[in-house]
């Protein structure tokens, strides 16, 4: 792998950029591998990368039915934060956040991690209780998250409307300064480049159509649109399609897949300095390096694999954005799109071994998976390599629903009285 740097760019500029090598190779699949990762999104590629770099396992194929990074990785609003309430969630998301800080250097690929600060707004007494609970728990977990008065929130994010007369006035906010955004494509491409350079095969346009198991139940490989590919271990990192793949192995999952939409505005000069999230009015907004306002919408209410959603969902979101930022009604929506998010009953992911020997699953990230990408890949690689979960992902089992040991971040923010 030739190193990227400003000098490399200058060198290439002299020869019209014709000397760049391929960022990743596109090999034909081999007959078998030590490990197959199903799904070349950020999580899957990161898993392959850490299998190679941390565990020395390079006889790995990442199979992708479309193009790498083309699922939720390339369709999300790129918010990064780790100020989760429960120890388990805080543990995995902060593990990821620590990896984000330095990921560009680790990958020699500018993923543009920008700790611009993630602000979450409180609009009523209940919000204050919930968000302060987060602040206190985060502090004792060593995770930065501070409480801001409305005035301090406005100072940090000048476009914010903190009028007491607003329909849902801002009564305060939390701020995680290490939170921010990153460039989604770069994350997938950077991991792909790093993994490919270490011998991992990234095989695109190769859809898994079946999971083969030996008489003893263990996986032996996968059937694909490009033929059977053998493997001792298979890690499923298929996001919205996790149920589909797991069903092929005979494992029924506690998952439902919903359309999740997002949109961007036309690019404008810098106007929005951080990430603002409001759970109460359902609005999530930041501004990209290119100048587009990046806005996350809610999920549609029904299961769908269509990657499209209803206009009324976007309406609901823009209503909230324009209520909080009334100067934005004249801004224009440039692009809207949909992804498929797989949601567990407690809204927390599953990163675990499965009842099938040699089969591992990493799914259920719902609407928040992007921020976890490095951490998720890192501990999932551990789980696959050692056939044993890393302590950080040990709580994220499939079995927790049967026993009742849920990690219910959403319930903890339950709407009150």
């Amino acid at each position: 792998m030739k190193k990227y740097s400003v000098f490399a760019i200058a060198r290439e500029a002299m020869r019209s950029h014709k000397g760049w090598e391929e960022q990743w190779s596109s090999p034909e699949p081999k007959k078998d591998y030590d490990v197959i990762i199903v799904g070349a999104g950020g999580h899957g590629l990161a898993t392959a990368y850490y299998l190679a770099t941390v565990h020395g396992i390079t006889n790995v194929a990442v199979l992708e039915k479309g193009w790498l990074g083309g699922g939720n990785t390339g369709r999300n609003t790129t918010i990064i934060r780790s100020n989760y309430l429960y120890d388990e969630s805080a543990g995995i998301y902060d593990h990821a956040l620590k990896l984000w800080d330095g990921l560009s250097q680790e990958l020699n690929y500018n993923v543009m991690y920008s700790p611009r600060g993630v602000m979450m707004l409180a609009h009523n007494v209940h919000d204050i209780q919930v968000l302060k609970r987060h602040v206190h728990a985060n502090r004792l977990n060593g995770i930065d998250n501070e409480w801001l008065t409305p005035e301090a929130a406005k100072e940090f994010c000048p476009p914010l409307n903190i009028s007491r007369d607003a329909r849902y006035p801002v009564m305060g906010a939390t701020l995680q300064r290490r939170g921010g955004t990153a460039r989604h494509d770069a994350v997938a491409w950077g991991y792909a480049r790093g993994a490919s350079a270490r011998g991992v095969h990234i095989i695109q346009n190769c859809e898994v159509t079946g999971v083969k198991r030996a008489p003893n139940g263990a996986v032996t490989g996968v059937e694909t649109t490009r033929g059977f590919i053998g493997a001792r271990k298979v890690g499923v990192v298929a996001a919205g399609h996790s149920s589909v793949i797991m069903n092929m192995a005979g494992v029924r999952m506690p998952l439902e897949s919903y359309p999740l939409q997002a949109l961007v505005s036309e690019p404008v000069k810098p106007v929005f300095p951080c990430v603002v999230m409001s759970n109460t009015v359902h609005a999530y907004i930041s501004q990209s390096d290119k100048g587009e306002l990046v806005i996350g919408a809610g999920t549609d209410q029904y299961i769908s694999y269509s990657q499209t959603g209803g206009l009324h969902i976007l309406q609901h979101t823009l209503d909230a954005i324009c209520e909080m930022f009334p100067m934005f009604t004249r801004m224009k929506m440039l692009r809207s799109w949909g992804g498929i998010v797989d949601v567990t009953p407690d809204r927390s992911p599953i990163l675990a071994k499965t009842p099938v020997p040699g089969l591992y699953v990493n799914c259920g990230w719902g609407t928040g998976g992007f921020k976890a990408t490095p951490g998720s890949g890192h501990v999932f690689a551990h789980t696959i390599a050692r056939d044993d979960p890393h302590p950080i992902n040990a709580p994220f089992t499939i079995e927790r629903f049967r026993t009742g040991r849920l990690i219910d971040e959403a319930a903890a923010a339950a709407v009150a009285h």
């Binding site: 399609h241 149920s243 589909v244 029924r252 999952m253 506690p254 998952l255 439902e256 897949s257 209410q301 029904y302 299961i303 769908s304 694999y305 269509s306 499209t308 209803g310 206009l311 009324h312 797989d342 009953p345 629903f401 049967r402 026993t403």
Partner: protein, 98 residues
């Protein structure tokens, strides 16, 4: 915004009037208290989440307020049919290739 035929109102109405209520034909045990942990997990947590034909429940929340069932293709979001709550899972689907 989907257009959904309500089997009670006997016409297609806009999605804004409806609320999805999850997978259909998951029976609640008549002897709930005696259900095993495994069966309870299957009943309450495990979902088919199919890519393709789904049997699902809807409520015509802001219409006749009835719950009913629908058969929909989760890839195209096209409804194949809707039928009243309590009616059995249809053996044959209109327009579905066999």
């Amino acid at each position: 915004m989907l257009l959904i035929r309500c089997p009670y109102c006997e016409e297609e109405r806009p999605e804004l009037e409806f609320r999805n209520a999850g997978e259909a034909h998951i029976a609640r045990s008549a002897d709930m208290a005696a259900t095993s942990d495994d069966d309870f997990e299957k009943f309450f947590f495990i979902r088919s989440n199919p890519k393709g034909i789904i049997y699902e429940r809807w409520r015509h929340m802001h219409g006749c307020a009835r719950f009913f069932n629908a058969v929909r293709d989760t890839v195209s979001d096209r409804f194949l049919m809707t039928y009243k709550a309590g009616e059995p899972k249809p053996a044959k689907l209109p327009g579905a290739s066999e």
